[in-house]
Symmetry: C2
Subunit: 199 residues, 2 copies
């Protein structure tokens, strides 16, 4: 029986410090290239002292992935404006999601790139959160198509592309003139309008 | 003095087999989580027999990255139609690039995700190829803006987003209804038209 998400995302300061050190280590050397011993060493901690918080490298990756996806879902949920027209809602959603990916690009990169290292059970827990984020965006795309505000030949394809565009920010950000999260957010909110054919 | 690109992308069958085994190993366990010994073991080869072809894991990653980027650049260059209007050109470029990323998604993932593990010199060689691909897309975006065929407030931003959208295919492909490279290519060529505000 593995730990539940609420158990691994412990609010204790020590656990949060371990997660932060692990993000740094994974971002630098990759998940496969990092040992729990190295993560402990970054904190001047013995591996045994880390064990009560995280019993394995995979459990630590799960905590980071679950925490990152929960934060992104919270941002997207909080940005939605259900009483507004679909254009206003989609702009707000994409802007908020893009901004989050840019601001937290190191964490987001670990969260996105190392998913396949999770156990099947942990992978399922994280994929559920990803689907929740996609579902919110999809609902707004479909709402705009239903009112005729958007011209969308394929709601699944456009939603997939919108999510992909935002998620990939963590790979390239910052670049060229795009070094501020709010500048990326504005660009992407505008591009989202174009991608759904908003009138 | 490190090897030149043409030396590491040897056309010999043995070298090509080593690169293919390395792509599999890196795609499964990450670059940091793979040893040259493990790559050799996949080929029933001793590490010593691999050495005349690739003297280090980094040299092997460079060969894979350089080969992958050269192939993508060739595809994009070959798809351009300089005598056609910008809309026709951009559709062809994005369709070809998206199709390549989908078809070669395992190789593309290694090529895109492990760039930071290259030596500074090798990184520069690969970034040059990336810039060449971006430059071709940018030239078509700018050509369309100049003729008024496209409405693009910011050529850099739109080009960045177009490239990002295509590169990210290797992370998610296949998904949902998008399991065939040509279906992704059609979707993305259409979305590219929307993103540049083609009339």
């Amino acid at each position: 029986m593995s730990e539940s998400p609420s158990q691994v995302i412990s609010p204790s300061k020590a656990a949060a410090r371990i997660r932060a050190a692990a993000v740094d280590a994974f971002a630098t050397n990759g998940y496969g290239g990092t040992t729990t011993r190295e993560i402990a060493a970054r904190l001047d901690m013995s591996p045994a002292a880390m064990y009560p918080h995280y019993r394995s490298k995979e459990e630590l990756l799960f905590a980071i992935s679950y925490e990152g996806h929960t934060a992104a879902l919270d941002v997207v949920t909080g940005a939605d404006l259900p009483d507004e027209p679909p254009s206003t809602r989609l702009k707000a959603l994409i802007g908020a999601f893009a901004s989050w990916q840019a601001t937290h690009h190191a964490q987001a990169r670990v969260v996105q790139y190392e998913l396949n290292a999770l156990t099947p059970e942990h992978y399922r827990d994280v994929v559920k959160l990803r689907r929740d984020i996609t579902r919110i965006v999809r609902a707004v795309v479909d709402a705009g198509a239903a009112t005729g505000e958007f011209t969308v030949p394929d709601g699944e394809g456009v939603t997939l592309a919108l999510m992909s565009l935002c998620v990939d920010i963590c790979r390239w950000f910052p670049a060229g003139a795009y070094t501020e999260p709010h500048v990326v957010a504005d660009l992407y909110a505008d591009l989202a309008m174009r991608m759904v054919g908003a009138n």
